[in-house]
Subunit: 197 residues, 2 copies
């Protein structure tokens, strides 16, 4: 899994050609709720985890998606590039790294993601619990954070380890499906096939 | 259900303020696959079904989503407006109207959706089966359609009947959740609450 997957080149090109757009790094992540119904929300791409093909997202431990993912650890990203008319549907296994993690390497990745995010976005993790009714008495609370302080308790790093990538190029009406196979010797290999759009 | 839901005003405003963008009518629809994992893809908003709050989308009966929806008829739309930084997450029940439908009113709605779509997009429904490997011998096949001809067999109208709408305004850091309740007399009513983003 250390080698770069073949669809990464296409994705890099899309990111480059849409880089003038703030929303080019936003995608929609679908998960499954405990009642079996789907959930879908916009999240921000935080790069690949070093040495892997895992997409990184940061999230608050108090959001519904964290509970959903503990229940069903699969997701599908839908990433549409509005300038180049390209779509990447990326299926894979989700993994949450939170403050209770015991592996030093995973905690390091979480800390890196914390410091890579802006001080402004770090402050959100100190805000009132997402999705609870607004208490207007709280509205005045001003939080502050030492820029050198490590991740707060609610900060989670969420990763998606891709198993299938369905690429669609609407300008050229071309679609390619990439699938990860495991060979008998345990080596993972990406296979690709052009399919009808 | 005949009355216009309160979130419709917010959505109309977002559609207006982003109307210069071709992709403003595109959203991501999440469903659940038969194996219990989520699926997610970009689809095009085809307006509300007349006299209802149901969102309309058109789709090919040969796509995986049709099979998925027959298995689990719930969906969540994630609709992000890139200019105004607003997100609508719309949960609800999905319904497919295909050529085998027996209700005249439903078949009429399907026919209307067909004629409302461009001749170019109608032609897609005559193309080779989506997601199957490309057979390059077929590549040369040119299809044509009489503009006055009704829907072809593969054309489906898909509707989502909203039960909950989670609205997020990132510019003003405001979030409102709208939920549909059924009163003891059977009347449906939308309730809304401001929640923490």
């Amino acid at each position: 899994m250390g080698s770069t997957a073949p669809w990464r080149q296409l994705l890099s090109k899309s990111l480059d050609s849409n880089s003038s757009l703030r929303h080019a790094t936003y995608f929609q992540l679908a998960t499954v709720r405990p009642d079996g119904r789907p959930a879908n929300r916009t999240v921000v791409f935080r790069g690949f985890m070093e040495g892997t093909n895992k997409l990184q997202v940061t999230t608050d431990s108090r959001t519904h998606k964290v509970e959903e993912i503990r229940h069903c650890p699969y997701g599908e990203v839908c990433w549409y590039f509005t300038d180049s008319w390209e779509q990447f549907r990326i299926q894979g296994k989700l993994d949450i790294i939170d403050e209770t993690d015991t592996e030093p390497m995973r905690l390091l990745m979480r800390e890196r993601a914390w410091f890579a995010s802006s001080p402004r976005s770090r402050l959100q993790f100190l805000g009132p619990q997402p999705a609870l009714p607004v208490l207007h008495t709280e509205a005045e609370t001003k939080h502050s954070l030492d820029p050198s302080a490590g991740p707060v308790g609610t900060f989670c790093l969420l990763t998606l380890d891709p198993e299938q990538v369905d690429y669609l190029d609407l300008k050229n009406n071309q679609r390619i499906v990439f699938k990860l196979f495991t060979q008998s010797n345990g080596i993972h290999e990406w296979m690709q096939e052009e399919v009808n759009p």
